[in-house]
């Protein structure tokens, strides 16, 4: 006899079996935690210019600055404590990734499910446009759009969403077309229930598992993409440095051996992306019906 369990509890039991995935999840949670608490735990507010002392600039890790505390990760060219800058940068990077991911999810899933539900020429048209866009590399699309729109958070999110919604649309369309043909959907549609409700209550929930996998990967991708754009100088303005802008700022000092300005923000970025991807990998294995035990 199978025990009756809530699907979430069963999912968690299975998830727990992979120690790596659990560790990755802990890392993600910790990083979100420190990002949220950054103003409370960071040694200084890196954007308050009054806090910055130029004689503290470009000091190596472990240097005790004029503020009287140790800069564990060193300081950057403006004398900013790098640890604080990373905590604040993490905040911005996560914010960009999550907001862009959420918009891309909403737009992409709506389009994908609408196409699958409508069928016929409208479906063919929507999917043709999306396929065309998928053939184009996301980085180029995002680069061009953010170059056209200029710097700023809203512009950057627009660029990221434009580069990523198509992945959600593709996945949602695939899953929804499969559900659309099933008897239970036909049955629900033959009742007087409005179509909207059938989509919302029946089709969408059954499309969620593959979409959650795509969402995890895409949030990681959005963070990496944002960092790349900011590194190239078309992402966020210098007043709102994400991890990518921090790395870019340190690049010019790298050739003179001051590695820490670029390397530590980079390590934080990688830790975050790898951890999200590992969690995504585990969820993918769990929702993949071919690997079901």
């Amino acid at each position: 006899m199978m025990r009756k369990e809530a699907p979430i509890a069963r999912f968690w039991d299975e998830f727990r079996e992979s120690r790596i995935a659990v560790a990755a999840l802990v890392v993600v949670a910790l990083m979100i935690g420190v990002a949220l608490l950054a103003p409370l735990i960071a040694p200084q507010n890196p954007y308050d210019l009054a806090n910055l002392v130029l004689s503290d600039a470009r000091r190596p890790p472990g240097y005790v600055g004029s503020g009287g505390y140790t800069h564990w990760l060193g300081t950057d060219a403006q004398g900013r404590d790098l640890l604080s800058a990373i905590l604040y940068g993490l905040r911005i990077s996560l914010q960009m990734g999550l907001v862009a991911g959420a918009f891309a999810f909403a737009i992409g899933v709506t389009l994908g499910i609408a196409a699958a539900y409508l069928g016929g020429r409208r479906e063919a048209f929507i999917m043709r446009v999306i396929d065309l866009q998928l053939a184009f590399p996301a980085i180029l699309l995002a680069l061009v759009i953010s170059a056209l729109l200029g710097q700023g958070k809203a512009q950057l999110v627009t660029a990221l969403v434009a580069a990523q919604y198509a992945y959600f649309a593709r996945t949602a369309h695939g899953a929804a077309s499969a559900e659309r043909g099933k008897d239970y959907v036909e049955a629900a549609l033959s009742t007087p229930l409005p179509a909207r409700q059938v989509i919302w209550r029946h089709i969408l929930p059954n499309c969620l598992p593959p979409l959650i996998v795509v969402a995890t990967v895409q949030v990681a991708n959005a963070i990496a993409l944002e960092a790349t754009l900011s590194f190239l100088g078309v992402g966020l303005p210098v007043t709102e440095p994400s991890l990518g802008s921090l790395i870019a700022n340190g690049f010019q000092y790298m050739l003179s051996g001051r590695y820490w300005i670029s390397i530590y923000p980079g390590l934080a970025l990688i830790l975050l992306i790898v951890a999200i991807n590992l969690v995504g990998d585990q969820i993918r294995d769990q929702v993949n019906p071919r690997l079901k035990r």
Binding site: F136, P137, G150, T228, F231, M254, I273, V274
Partner: protein, 323 residues
């Protein structure tokens, strides 16, 4: 078959036309190029003269049709910054990007496919697990950061290789190539490695997944029963069977690598078209931006078209079904 091809060609043309309009309007909607062309202190006469010379006083749609007409004659206009024809400018930068991309994709295939086959052949060995862990890292770590680490390690600390530039070139068929000189090769190595990293992870994973599937098939069982050695099975059967999807991906990835070269070229000051587009975005050099985007769109549409045709040739169901 023929109708299918004609249909696809027409589709591709329509897409190019839409792309050109989008790119043109998008690119020309930002900033005022006049501020880039001339200083703020020149006289009003010169200012108006310059505006008229570049046709910037005309309405946008008229500028677009002038542009379209010129493009059909192979004329993309003159670069605001370099003052030379854009097509010439891009073509002069293209070889650098092509050789960088080719070196990266080839390197990724030469390392990634054997590594992937091994990981698929012995999925439980520690080395395979290491390969897979590294491939996750390859997927996750942003290209630009790997570039920084490569520069820091090999150029700054060890001082084995140069940190940027293209080095000496030698001429072949009237084009300057880096890979023909030893100095050039030393300049090529780091950027190519950087660009290859992401593709390497992809190739490894694909080769591994393919190998795992093929190893379970009857082909391999019978080959083993016939007493063929494992090495021969891997080379003759496994490699051949997994090569079809790999070739497709190779083609598609070549195009996306061309786009990714933007990042690598910026870090390593590699004078290719990727560096050119970043520079022209920063200096609002519109003709170059438009031409670059059109060129990339063209390359993508061509490659997709070719891949489509390959499927068509490979899959008999497609031929019967719709033609």
């Amino acid at each position: 078959m023929l109708t299918h091809i004609i249909e696809r060609v027409l589709q591709a043309l329509a897409v190019m036309l839409v792309m050109s309009a989008l790119v043109f309007v998008g690119v020309y909607a930002i900033g005022n190029p006049i501020d880039v062309l001339i200083g703020p202190d020149v006289s009003q006469d010169i200012r108006l003269d310059t505006i008229a010379r570049y046709g910037l006083d005309k309405p946008l749609w008229e500028q677009y049709f002038t542009f379209l007409g010129r493009v059909l004659h192979g004329d993309f206009g003159r670069s605001f910054v370099f003052g030379m024809p854009v097509l010439e400018l891009i073509l002069s930068r293209l070889p650098a990007t092509l050789e960088l991309t080719l070196a990266a994709v080839l390197g990724a295939a030469l390392i990634g496919i054997p590594a992937g086959i091994y990981a698929g052949y012995r999925p439980d060995s520690p080395l395979s697990k290491l390969i897979m862990a590294l491939s996750i890292l390859g997927f996750s770590v942003p290209t630009f950061w790997i570039g920084l680490v490569l520069i820091m390690t090999f150029a700054v600390e060890l001082q084995w290789l140069p940190a940027g530039g293209r080095g000496e070139t030698a001429s072949l068929f009237g084009v300057e190539w880096t890979f023909l000189t030893l100095n050039g090769l030393s300049h090529l190595l780091l950027p190519a490695l950087n660009l290859a990293f992401f593709k390497l992870a992809l190739m490894t994973r694909l080769a591994r997944a393919g190998t795992r599937e093929v190893m379970l098939t009857d082909t391999v069982k019978f080959a083993r029963a016939a007493g063929i050695s494992e090495g021969v099975i891997l080379r003759r059967h496994v490699l051949r069977l997994i090569s079809i999807p790999l070739v497709t991906v190779f083609g598609l990835e070549f195009a996306s690598t061309l786009a990714f070269a933007v990042v690598t070229e910026t870090i390593f000051s590699w004078p290719g078209i990727g560096k050119l587009i970043i520079d022209s975005i920063q200096s609002l050099d519109r003709p170059v931006m438009v031409a670059y985007l059109m060129l990339v769109a063209f390359v993508f549409i061509m490659i997709n078209f070719l891949v489509d045709l390959t499927y068509f040739a490979l899959d008999p169901r497609l031929r019967k079904g719709r033609a």
